[in-house]
Amino acid sequence: MRAAGATPLLSVRDLVVEFHARSGVVRAVDGIDLDVHPGETLGVVGESGSGKTVSMLAAVGLLPAAPYCTVRGQVLLNGRDLLTLSTRDLRALRGREIGMIFQDPMTSLHPSFRVVDQVAEALLVHDSALADRQARTRALELLERVGVARPDRRVRDYPHQWSGGMRQRAMIAIAIANDPPLLIADEPTTALDVTIQAQILDVLRRARDELGAAAVLITHDLGVVAELADRVSVLQSGRVVESATVEEVFAAPRHPHTITLLDALPRLDRPLAERRPVAEAPPVLEVEDVAVHYANPGGGVVRAVDGVSLSLLPGETLGLVGESGCGKSTLARTIVRLVDPQAGRVRFGGRDITRARGRALRGVRRALAMVFQDPYASLNPRMTVGEIVAAPLRIAGCYRSSGGRRRVAELLDMVRLDPASADRLPSDFSGGQRQRVGIARALALSPRVLVLDEPVSSLDVSIQAQVVGLLDQLQRELGLTYLFISHDLSLVRQISDRVAVMYLGKIVELGTREQVYERPTHPYTQSLLAAVPSPHPERRSSRTLLVGEVADPTDPPSGCRFRTRCAKAAPECAEEVPALVVREGSDHPSACHFASTAPPGSPAGTSGSTPDAG
């Protein structure tokens, strides 16, 4: 609650945004009021379609022009109404008085211009006296300030040569280039891994504090809000339903929608629902020492999966977590035989399916189904939902014998979709509904095992909760076995019986949910857990951040692959590859020479045992 009572820096009054489509007028923002005081961070929270992004784009004049979209109301920045400014004045103000950061760092930078030049351009457009050379020097300083290591060596780099996290740092450099008094960050970390999210939130916080700038943080993730915001406005259907300090919102939310959002937030501190005990039985799926290597277009061999062994017991959920690029998806694709491994074996129901072909492979595909990550890309937009769900049945040649349209209706009903919607196209459905279609398709042939590759990562938190709830229920009703892949640790904790942590092609820790989350021994697992945003605004800790990003899989570090980012790394880590075995003082396997429940940073026992462990 800084600067309460003073004149707000940004004041939005009765903002209305309407989109004019052929089908009619859509009111995306329906009269909202927001205030941001100098130096204050306002979290604007809501689900997709609640109008949070549209309202901010409208405020700075970045929406399409008049016939497509109308904006009414008042947006005062330092007393000037932005909605009545001329195009020229508004342009001069964007970037200089308001710095903006957008969601997807992969698409927000121009692919054909060098990164440095894009940062420099932010300076040049507002200062005609600035020479190109000076601008570039300043751009390098800015990149260094947001944590890009040695930007002077990356002067010639284009965005596609940078990782998502580095690109988002470049976006922040652009936003802060002209020391604006106001930053607007639209879902700045949604597209990033939890570790990179923690780094970016940290950069954002420091940038804001150094500038003394006010900020608007648009997000659907209350965890991010808890990390960064002073006050929160919750939006629903284009209206503000609750406005309060961040402490109040988390301690005593008033509006039912706020409560729904808070409940949906997967968190590490919530008591765990008891899982059903998994029956003692031989594993239904076994992965033995599987390796997948493929040629990198730029030269070298990518060791995407490098000697992974796992087994799935019937009826259990195995969670597989790790950062982007650590080989999770490749492993999933190998299991369902979309990718052929160079080494190792995959056994399903005791039979080796690694080289299965023809009839045998089709048999495997009936019993082993996959749900893909992006529900927008994994459904054919020209097929009706009914055709999509029926496709596996038709391919297996049992559409008619299984009941035809009746079976499709049954499957849609199973995933809580209206069976009458079978004749509609995927474009008529929201992201969450589309993912239900994807699940119905996977269930069509009554499989025993579902491989779920980041099934809810592209969905809003509240929708995530619904889909995860559905998956849980289906598992109970149908006795399914899940391999649940996600980079979201709190989500995996909610629905898994056992958890495998993967880093750079290898499993580094494996155990029951309680073992991995309550007594993690691998420094990588510990860092991942520390990076999860804590929904406790009153306890904003200065956490130890995992430094850097996943190493280059074409040239992995020798010995322990994690050692380049590990606080415990010692000389022997570079020489000997740590095996995934149960270490002394622990109750589950961990691939670390110094496995210990003591978090990295604190003095670690050299032998890997700590007195209080076990």
Partner: protein, 321 residues
């Protein structure tokens, strides 16, 4: 890396050129009709035919003829015209500048005008200027070259008298220097416009769609959020990548233009390769036909190569694949 990309692309030229030569040679020699008849007339006696056959090496088996021809081509010798009795390379060299001038002008004009029209309509999307331009370009695209050419001659040359009807220079004057250039330029206007018309339409449609698509991108929003003036956003940020499809068709368009040039040259009496080709085909002058074929095919291949190199400049990601 860029250098390696260029070298790799250049190395691919060799096999392509060899394939073109093979295909062209076989097409001509497998076509029905005996070149000897064209050479020696329909009514010669058998002995004379045999003499001609031996003189031009036509009694050799086809592979030997091919080998001889390929060897000659490598040395820069495209053979001798049956009809004119002069080296094919001389005949082509004589006509080449006229065609280069015609197609080059049409290529440059259609690209520049097409992109300009595309930018004009994209920035006025679905308002009346855009709709008008769209209708006009569609009409232009639908009209065949010979129709446009004849219409242009009828209306602008014969009726209005603004432009000459035929040829490349005024037959009555023997002007030199600047007035010669102006004379050629005056003759060039109608054929070049007729040849470029369809291409202008195609390029303008492509660049309009490309630009509209590009203007919706996230990085354009970033540029606007930085405070980049709208003019720069359109002409620098958006146009650069919107031009990718325009560049993609550049190589293919060169082929189109050469094909169109054959028609335009005949309609306007333009003394270029196109008219040479038509005359040579009518006279079954195989060496000339083959020579023109080789030249045109290699030009298209080189145009495609340049296209790809330009592409790598516009989209740096291409270089690293």
């Amino acid at each position: 890396m860029t250098r390696r990309y260029v070298v790799r692309r250049l190395l691919q030229l060799g096999p392509t050129a060899a394939a073109i030569l093979l295909v062209g040679f076989l097409l001509i020699h497998l076509a029905p009709g005996d070149p000897v008849l064209a050479l020696a007339g329909e009514n010669g006696d058998a002995e004379y035919y045999a003499f001609v056959r031996e003189k031009f090496g036509l009694d050799e088996p086809l592979p030997t003829q091919l080998a001889t021809y390929a060897g000659n081509v490598l040395r820069g010798d495209l053979g001798t015209s049956y009809v004119l009795g002069r080296p094919v390379s001389d005949v082509i060299a004589e006509r080449l500048p006229a065609t280069l001038l015609l197609t080059g002008t049409a290529l440059v004009f259609s690209t520049v005008a097409g992109v300009a029209i595309g930018v004009f309509s994209a920035t006025r999307r679905r308002r009346w200027p855009d709709v008008t331009v769209t209708l006009a370009t569609l009409a232009m695209y639908s009209a065949p070259v010979f129709l446009l050419g004849q219409l242009a001659i009828l209306l602008l040359a014969l009726r209005a008298g603004w432009f000459p009807v035929q040829g490349m220079t005024d037959a009555r004057s023997s002007a030199t220097g600047l007035s010669h250039v102006l004379d050629v330029g005056h003759h060039l206007v109608l054929p070049a416009l007729a040849l470029a018309a369809q291409e202008v339409a195609a390029v303008s449609r492509l660049s309009r769609v490309g630009l509209l698509d590009e203007l919706r991108r996230d990085h354009i929003r970033t540029a606007r959020a930085k405070g980049v003036p709208e003019r720069t956003v359109v002409l620098s940020h958006a146009l650069r990548r919107a031009l990718l499809p325009v560049v993609t068709v550049l190589g293919g368009r060169t082929g189109q233009l050469v094909a169109g040039a054959v028609v335009v040259e005949v309609v306007f009496g333009w003394p270029g390769i196109g008219r040479l080709l038509v005359t040579a085909m009518q006279a079954r002058d195989a060496p000339v036909v083959l020579g023109v074929f080789l030249l045109v095919a290699v030009t298209v291949v080189v145009a495609n190569l340049l296209t790809d190199l330009l592409y790598a400049w516009l989209d740096p990601r291409v270089r690293y694949r």
